[in-house]
Point group: D2
Chain length 360, copies 4
């Protein structure tokens, strides 16, 4: 096995999810790489020390530039607040590193384009981990096999409720200066990446962004209607004010031959309706997507034994390491991250237009 | 009991639902009226004869004008294709009748206004029957009791699939000349009436109307974003191309104190989330809205014994007859029907604007 | 149409459900009979008067013997507390009437046998209405078509909660002298009739009967294990102490080719699992059993428009009247009611044996 | 941190789940132990070599006795086919090791008692991992807090379908000589352990064991009725012939104050019904048991981010290591495993009695 030296920048919730992926990937995926957890980098030294002990990082650092400058590091993994992604990823690329970056790729379209330019020719990945939910990867396969047919409707929501929780301490996600946006980059970006993955390019959008909390400078909710290049039409809603929903990242696709429905809170399941069934036997089937013959079912446990949130990171990393070896293109990469940013930029533009609404 | 002589114009699916309501209302509601089913009116004489036998109409007629002209008729019930509603209802009102009219009230805003003017001062009703779904009436009560709190989001879909069925014979619902519109009047009107009932006036909308089937002159799908007067934001989708969905008329409301979720395919249930529950005991409750202490539960059967589609018509009629006696205002009346038409008109205006979408 | 003169004995909840069936049957079924609601009979005169007005009975009576003795009555419908069934039904049969009887048929096996003897040669019916739930009738069809295959397991529960409600007034259902038993006759009888209908004869049982409430002389809960003649094994549970369950009459059948699952609280749905589906597309399908090509879907409304509890009585009556005309055998008749009683008797015998349990 | 040297005997599916637990436990639990994965032991050398590489075992061995004899091993973890548990665990205990053993503890009551005797005074654990499903641990807490009240009914099923799969290679689980029993030890043992954990001792049982497949010498299905010491009554069913069910380990508990319902295929959820809610607001709540204030929610991810099957092993190990440090009693230990065996033995005894069934 080849050694691959990793540096992780970021020590928050995402940093922890990445740590777990590095520790677990070779337990479930056969990769040719022996991952060396060289250094974890952040601003909070006591926190870094604790994470280094827990996850086995050899060193800690509070100076990300020096880490990127080290010759013994092969991979830079950026898991910082959004506004730092571009600078770090571009510097890492300039230093010849393999670059992995959390989503959303950037806080502006300009940044995203620069990042794509910077990594050109080198392996790169954006952590839109939900593409590796088995049920979502399986939906893609159903579509490719023609089981959904011509798509008519795509409907997606990402519903969280914590925006309305007054007891919650304000973090960087509620600061435009650090997050770039509210749910737009945080939640809608996931929906858009999944939509592009499953249903192809979006041609045009009509959007509304809304902030419920006085004084907040980011969007609490963003909704849009969309036209896809394949002729289907869509609606999207991302919000932090959906009281009753912890983490409902859901979609429904209606095509000429079938329907697929998914909800991240029930991530091992996919509902599939097959219009080819006899009329009196038609009904949405609840598939428990844990195998057999389903994505990642040979990697993890047995059919009927469910996996969790963290496995999507493990599988993303496993596939990425596989692509390093096979030299086959990996997705989602920075280009995919840019494609999401292009849609988000159009959403913002649309939402700023006053004329978009008609008075009743 | 006082005799009340009824004439029904219409012999289709809705006509049949109304017949059932007339026959059943006094079995479940204590009204002071002895309904006399005098005449059923339509264009297909053999069909009328059959319906007269089945439901016990004294006479049949193929001349609606003469029926309206009869002095022995108290109530005219209009259950014809949409384009005929205005002419019939206005004539009936001019003849001093109590007028009941199927939804949507009219095929244009102008017509709807004329109808409201025509019935002013006389009892009238529009058959937005879903207000009488116990779970929907109960949602209204929850809102009035403050259990939902300040509303943030309102989300509604009416999903059917028959638009994509090539074996289905074309009927008047697919002809703009008779239906006035496609899903706009047929399905979206229901969503809007329910939204106005539960969440109050809509200030502005941004909409998309789409026709999938070449050559069809009505909308197969209509989607919109909305701002309500109470500060909440909403999304609506009505379509006949949602393969996998027979009749999914559904809504979700997220407020500061709770959430309510409904689906007509499961009409005896309401999901209710109470944010006042202890955090670790919070979860959407599946209420079986069949009593006790729930709307209409003393009218029909026992708790746990479910009702069906037809009961919404019975309850609408029961309440209307009750209002005739009590002289209290009845809703939904023609004014409510007009309020729906005003939103639908804004939807059409918005959808016709080219500038509403932003290219990606 | 031929006149058929009906007398109903019983003025409780069941009486009301039967009234509705008489009023509605010709609206949804094409029968050759013009039902005349001649007389409703019971012990509470004011209640009878009210029911006569509501449902249109021509007369009332508090003397059931005289009613049975009348020459102008064709049908006697027994909807009284259980202990009265045998005497009334046998008298009615002796008078040459068509006899309909509520379930359970009797309060003893001896009675049930006498009743079967009494009605021999004449049309008769026992109101095990749940055979006419479209989803249950459809399950029978699936079994007959071989879609379930060789049955391995049959599992049924009838869960109610009111036994534990101290505020509920004690009625005849809690008196052994009137009801004959507790959940055995009230709830388990339904489960057994459905099981015999769907899965054939039961060979042997091992049972437990339990009373939670001190001083009550009927069973609050009855559970049993069973062996069916077809080689499958089963479990049954009926209780009035299942807090959280209003009326959960449910079953699951697992066979070599498929699975079916039903719950009366969701009576328009059937879950069906087809083991012939590709492995990775297998999942329980949620069928909305409202048509097309499903039982009773041409009688009531359109696909996607649900029916309720009362429709099972209408359909039972509709089928019975159809059999009167066609002379084809009708089920469930008194023989079917007796078959249920035979199982219930074995359940009681088993439960009384002390040796049935092994100490841990 | 103190070093703790581990030897694992077993290289099958369970062995793999234990490997993962050893690798993950310190990532999610703060234990004082630095686990050293010294040696993995089994009969298949190539398989052992592969597992050693994947999971980082220092050595492999095909001689379990020599491993137990080593002075540098602190912990022996037995994850072999059932018939070997007793011999290995007793030898390990005799050698003064900390012993962990897969379930069921033994293949006979005699063995189980010997094992309990052997480990007396030393830390020990039986891997009934499902006690650490957060939803199950939370159910226990609900019961302890009095939220379920006096229990009336306990109902549990463990439904799998692979017994009917003719393509499946026969393994040791279908051999009585190696497994000791069929679903009795494999599936029912889980149900019983959970029942004892949640609802206390079982006094007596009445059971049926059944083998569908000709020539098989283990039970394909075992069903029983039970009386608990707390006065509640129960039913249990374990089968490998439940076509349509991958891994449905489910229970329902009805008490005077509430109801709890769980299904392992949806392991992050618990349904909870609170009879103290207002009558018209009562309904089963679907709790997403991922925090806050729920078991293990601070160990793993954030509320709304689900965990999987493997986490139950991690949590069991985390709690066990915690008890090593705190010296507080750990459950489930060998005594708990024996308690399960006592019930299983009574089940077998009951099932062998011919007289248990009454003919219909």
């Amino acid at each position: 096995m080849k050694k691959l030296n990793v540096a992780l920048i970021g020590q928050g919730f995402m940093g922890r999810a990445h740590c777990n992926a590095y520790r677990q990937v070779n337990h479930f995926f056969e990769t040719p790489f022996d991952l060396q957890l060289k250094v974890i980098c952040g601003r909070n030294r006591p926190g870094l020390e604790k994470m280094a002990v827990t996850w086995g990082w050899e060193e800690i650092s509070t100076d990300w530039r020096s880490v990127i400058g080290r010759g013994d590091i092969d991979v830079i993994d950026v898991a910082t607040p959004n506004w730092l992604h571009a600078e770090m990823a571009i510097a890492a690329a300039a230093a010849g590193k393999i670059v992995l970056c959390e989503k959303p790729l950037a806080v502006s379209l300009v940044q995203a384009r620069q990042m794509v330019d910077a990594v050109r020719g080198e392996p790169n990945m954006v952590w839109f981990n939900y593409r590796r939910v088995p049920a979502i990867a399986f939906t893609r396969r159903l579509i490719e096999e023609g089981r959904i047919g011509q798509v008519f409707h795509y409907r997606a929501t990402y519903l969280q409720e914590w925006g309305n929780d007054p007891t919650r301490p304000p973090g960087w996600k509620l600061q435009k200066s650090e997050a770039g946006s509210g749910v737009l980059g945080d939640l809608l970006s996931h929906l858009i990446d999944t939509a592009l993955y499953l249903n192809g390019p979006i041609d045009e959008v009509s959007a509304m962004m809304h902030t419920f909390s006085p004084g907040r400078d980011v969007d609490d909710a963003t909704l849009l209607l969309a036209r896809f290049a394949n002729g289907s039409i869509g609606s999207f809603e991302a919000t932090r004010y959906a009281v009753g929903c912890r983490n409902r990242n859901a979609f429904e696709i209606h095509g000429s031959k079938g329907m697929a429905r998914f909800d991240l809170e029930d991530l091992n399941r996919l509902e599939f309706f097959d219009a080819a069934d006899a009329r009196n036997l038609q009904g949405a089937r609840r598939l428990l997507v844990t195998g057999p013959d389903q994505p990642y079912s040979t990697n993890f446990w047995k059919p009927g034994h469910i996996i969790g949130y963290e496995h999507t990171f493990i599988a993303a990393l496993g596939d990425f390491l596989g692509s390093l070896e096979s030299r086959e293109p990996f997705h989602p990469n920075f280009e995919d991250g840019l494609a999401v940013e292009q849609v988000l930029a159009a959403v913002e533009t649309s939402a700023k237009q006053n004329g978009v609404f008609t008075a009743v």
